[in-house]
């Protein structure tokens, strides 16, 4: 794939990360997380919130970097390969977990939740594919 095409794909993935962050802000209410957190000890609750905050911030940072500096991720340096490889591994594993591990039986009824159940893994796979191609581009450039 041409570098310019890949740059646009990375920019689009960056926008997708922002869309995902925006959608994620509705998840706690949609899944009634406040009610579900009631059974947790205070420390466990704080740990979940902290870890979720870190993951949210990482997705936001990946989005910013992809949108504002796709060239930095495609300049065929070892660090660009490491960063794109990290983002690829992050999204690929997230898609696998979503499809094989996360319990989907408690999801609320309704079309938009059914769409979300398949839409999120589709997004994760799209991000994984984009950053997988970015990684391959960097490795080719290094060789």
């Amino acid at each position: 794939m041409a570098t310019e095409t890949l740059e646009w794909a990375v920019r689009a993935a960056g926008l997708g990360h922002f869309a995902l962050c925006a959608a994620s802000t509705h998840i706690p209410k949609a899944l009634g997380l406040k009610r579900q957190f009631a059974g947790l000890s205070p420390l466990a609750r704080q740990l979940v919130v902290m870890q979720a905050g870190y993951t949210f911030a990482l997705v936001l940072v990946i989005g910013l970097l992809s949108l504002a500096g796709p060239g930095l991720l495609l300049d065929a340096t070892p660090l660009a390969a490491c960063v794109s490889g990290f983002v690829f591994a992050f999204w690929f594993s997230r898609a696998v977990l979503q499809l094989t591990y996360v319990d989907k039986t408690d999801r609320p009824p309704g079309l938009r939740y059914s769409v979300a159940v398949w839409g999120f893994p589709a997004m994760f796979l799209g991000f994984a594919a984009t950053f997988g191609l970015t990684l391959a581009h960097n490795i080719r450039g290094l060789a």
Binding site: L33, L40, P42, L47, A57, L65, A80, C82, V102
Partner: protein, 141 residues
């Protein structure tokens, strides 16, 4: 100066891996399994997924610091951004430790207090060294 910074980055890289090794004992020490016992399946799964991701971030930071020191100090904008991100990550972790966590529910025995002091010092060292590396890259860019 660069050699000192390289050594410091390798040191904190090894520190991240030591933190990961130590983290393996945290679930039993803090009784995470009991703390999660009353939670619905989805929450329990979210907890373990997030915990595994945070563990994975630390392994990656550690490997990059230990084996990719020259990559983190190549004076590029990407190196500055990566180092800046890791610095902010650890500063935020320090803020969370003191401003957010319910300190009353933490174990009070001497060894836990000692462990917490060690962790706080490690977080501060990680933030300081990656902040220094970020400044070095910004100065070189």
């Amino acid at each position: 100066m660069t050699t000192l910074l390289e050594m410091a980055l390798r040191g904190v890289g090894a520190g991240h891996l030591a933190l990961c090794a130590g983290s393996l004992f945290i679930p039993s020490a803090l009784g995470w399994k009991q703390g999660l016992a009353g939670a619905p399946t989805l929450i329990r799964q979210m907890f373990w997924v997030y915990a595994a991701y945070v563990f994975g971030f630390h392994v990656c930071f550690g490997l990059l610091g230990l084996f990719g020191t020259h990559l983190l100090l190549d004076g590029s904008m990407l190196a500055a951004l990566v180092c800046g991100f890791v610095c902010v990550y650890w500063v935020a972790r320090l803020v969370v430790q003191f401003a957010y966590f319910d300190r009353k529910s933490m174990p009070r025995a001497g060894r836990y207090r000692l462990a917490e002091a060690g962790l706080v010092l490690a977080f501060a060292a990680f933030a300081g060294v990656f902040g220094w590396a970020c400044a070095f890259n910004l100065g070189a860019a």
